[in-house]
Assembly symmetry: D2
């Protein structure tokens, strides 16, 4: 257990790469774009290499090329970990086959695979599969299990999959033990960890996690369906879970802000906004947003 | 705001030392003994140097010697930060004069001083002074303000004292800005930080912090007075706040454990136990503990 | 003075970026491709960001975009240093105007500029300007002055340009002093440094450096002119100093190897080879290489 | 091969400790006192712990206590490497039995042992044993083989002892391979490494190393015998190889300096000087030094 998704991700990866390793992830990944230099910090200076691919999913062919390159050449960092995000940073979801395509490359190369599961529950519901199917059965070795975005106040977990690691000759007990020291030296061992951890009992019992993510995904489906019918709105990547990037006319953006709707601007290309639904998103709010956009598009 | 005292301490210090710096602290300090290698991690590999002194308080004379040694010699780490703990790790409290003796050495050497205030409120009540008197007015530049041990679930703060820093020619704005990046790359920026931070409003309003610490200190006074009267119990360092180290006959230790009292053993010399009172410690519990110890001592 | 170009480059850059900084360099730069993770190691985990541009020269427009992006956003590394290689990694040479285009962007952004001068003398002769014109007069703040590739056994220098730094409000004395500590903690302070350093006296006296580089560049000009006349040989980037990348038919490559000519293969696209001339390259050797290639092309 | 003893030592140790490890060495060791923070830098922030013992030799009893303490406790760094210096920093030499006493503790604890052999040849001649007897046969796993202080210009080697490592279940091939990456990322892979390395052929052939060290040790014996007979001179630790610390009356120190003899002062207690003989030390110089000291003592 740790408090932040950042910590869960970088601790997991740091346990698997030497300082001269490279970590292969999508060029739009959170690791490369939104974590300051936490990845380099925790890995004692490993290299994070961006890989292309549509919808923020790594292209297995590009990955294959990189994992086979300059192996044993001391002038180059050495491929050590592959990290994928499920849900991706643009709101798409890897299918089980797409995960497999990545983990198959990893398996041949003998590399461990990390899943950034900040929106794990949302992805799971999108795929309609079991947690096991989306993780170790699909070749994932270590998971950052996100809970904070789905109802927990502060609390994320790292899950180590014994059988996955062992099929690659990696000692999962050693990984787990090292994580305890890494967490402590990162300052992430809370003296009141039991308070934080206890949330997981509530979260994982009685399908709390499922209810929350189901609602979030449903609200996004509603939002996306509505926005599709609004002239001028462009869906950038079809949302498969609870996050959507779309492009609005600048005037529409301003109109929505004037009506009280809040969203980040300026982080992406002009006109691009990110919409995220959660366990708390009210249906009426979604409908109001769509209505407001539609009213604007009719008037102008 | 961060979740852990570890983070508050090491982030503060990391903002003030170059990687080739040395950080001077007591040889019994938490930094040297209980933080794994978090201090080295956050400072990118600075050296932590232990200084002696009675009751876990740094001896100003030893400190003076070290801050003047090998200055400008590239073969040696360079003194960069002084860190003291208030309450100390053995339960004593620096008087204002004792703090001044340390900060005076620092001032002449031009070094910033960090206070590890994990038990800040308890120390304050012990001294009966204001927060300002115990910090910037006494020459402290940066404070790890502890709250977790005094009623907050997860939450500590770093306080940067503008005027102190500036009297040493250090730009306090730069320190504060850097802390924001250091916190993020340490993985300590919570996405729900507002939830954690909001506790401080309750904690600092209506004298909540004072009520809690007053109770904890009072319970310790009661406990210490009681134990003094029990034959065979040795008070190692007189408790001035809410923490006490004492030495018990091994049989008495086992008797207390058998009666259901819990405490760590094995971390210190044989027979040594640490007793800490908190805002929740019931008076009846303290009395029961004393009674149980006394009953044992009378029987054997 | 240090022994290796790696050390000269990474020490220079480390002195100028905080650990959460980004260092902007060409995507084909040595820093990104040939130094394992030394850049991350020495900077305590800064991010190295590759920028595009023809002939391995950074495109000022791309650079401009990156230095202005996400400034003050703690989720992102912050642009801190710009590093260019002169001669570039593909054998081209920045003109003084091209250097200026980079340093102008840097100046507006307030960022220091590092020049990787592994082939400094060769570039200088290619441009026919003075060292001052190619460095501080063109806006360079710090230089890795390469000597090892031009006649010195082991020995490179870091040159700090006082006036350049000061025009940006950076204290050059502080940079220089820090370099002394950084060198020591990197293990690059030789106990017999005087032995290594003494080479510089010979190298910089009596135009030794100029004679060596003049010869190397002349031999490359001869080699390039010759290869241009050989059917089947493709010049990838016109050599402006003493390094050339060209593409040969695979059979020609093997023929040359069979005749005893040595060169790396397999590091780049198939058929690509790197040819470098030095102060020692004999004219007869260059001619023999061209002859051998021509004979092959006539026969097949 | 690397250029500096610093690099040889810290690379060796870094290959054997995790960042949360502790490295146990004598409190007067070079690692703790003369390497700035290179040890912390190369180990990504491990803790270096000083152990006492007469004549700068670690006390096995103290060592035994530390290797068994707080094992598995995440709040504490974990004992990972033991490092001893042969010749020690005060000029004494561990006997084979004394080395064994250290390595026996290491063996039981499962820890690798590093020998800092900056004056390896001098120690070897002092003991009159074979290199094997002083290293792997005595339980040493990895050696920094010093050559720079005994006739080589710049050049030290790291020697990995396969059988020693394997008796502890450590894969020596992995250690050796990692050293190649660690050397590169430390900037210690010289492009002209063959030039540096070639010295070792001359050094190790025809007993060059032995002749040089024999002379150095003989000159020290002469110097020490002479100084013993000079009233007022105190031998601090009997020199067993080629280094001696002694204490002189301040006036004698100044007299010697006035007569042209050079030595460091001010690094140690007042009056303490360090005298080192080398392969180049002329017998006449040693005699002149003794004479000068004696003349002074007779006059005053």
């Amino acid at each position: 257990m740790v408090s932040t998704g950042t910590a869960a991700n970088v601790l997991s990866i740091a346990a698997l790469t030497p300082p001269w390793g490279s970590v292969l992830c999508h060029s739009e990944s959170h690791l490369l774009n939104d974590e300051c230099t936490a990845p380099e910090f925790y890995t004692s200076g490993a290299r994070f290499v961006g890989i292309g691919g549509a919808d923020a999913k790594m292209d297995p062919a590009q990955l294959q090329k990189l994992v086979a390159q300059k192996i044993g050449d001391v002038h180059s960092c050495q491929p050590s970990v592959i990290s994928l995000s499920q849900v991706t940073e643009v709101g798409s979801v890897y299918s089980l086959e797409e995960i497999r395509a990545i983990t198959d490359v990893a398996k041949v190369a003998g590399l461990p695979v990390h899943m950034d599961g900040a929106r794990f529950a949302n992805a799971l519901l999108a795929l309609g599969c079991t947690p096991a199917e989306m993780t170790w059965k699909a070749g994932i070795d270590i998971l950052s299990f996100g809970a904070t975005k789905n109802g927990v106040m502060t609390g994320e977990a790292i899950v180590v999959f014994k059988s996955s690691f062992e099929s690659k000759g990696i000692d999962s007990n050693k990984v787990a033990q090292e994580l305890a020291y890494r967490r402590k030296r990162g300052g992430h061992l809370l003296s009141k960890m039991r308070v934080v951890s206890s949330q997981m009992m509530a979260y994982l019992s009685n399908d709390e996690w499922r209810r929350n993510a189901t609602h979030a995904n449903a609200m996004m489906a509603l939002l996306q369906e509505g926005l599709k019918t609004v002239p001028g709105v462009k869906i950038n990547t079809p949302a498969q879970a609870n996050m959507l990037f779309c492009t609005l006319p600048l005037d529409m953006m301003r109109h929505l802000q004037a009506e009280g709707f809040g969203f980040y601007t300026g982080r992406w290309e002009e006109g691009v906004i990110r919409l995220v639904t959660s366990f708390q998103t009210p249906k009426a709010g979604v409908e109001a947003f769509i209505d407001s956009a539609r009213r604007f598009s009719l008037l102008y």
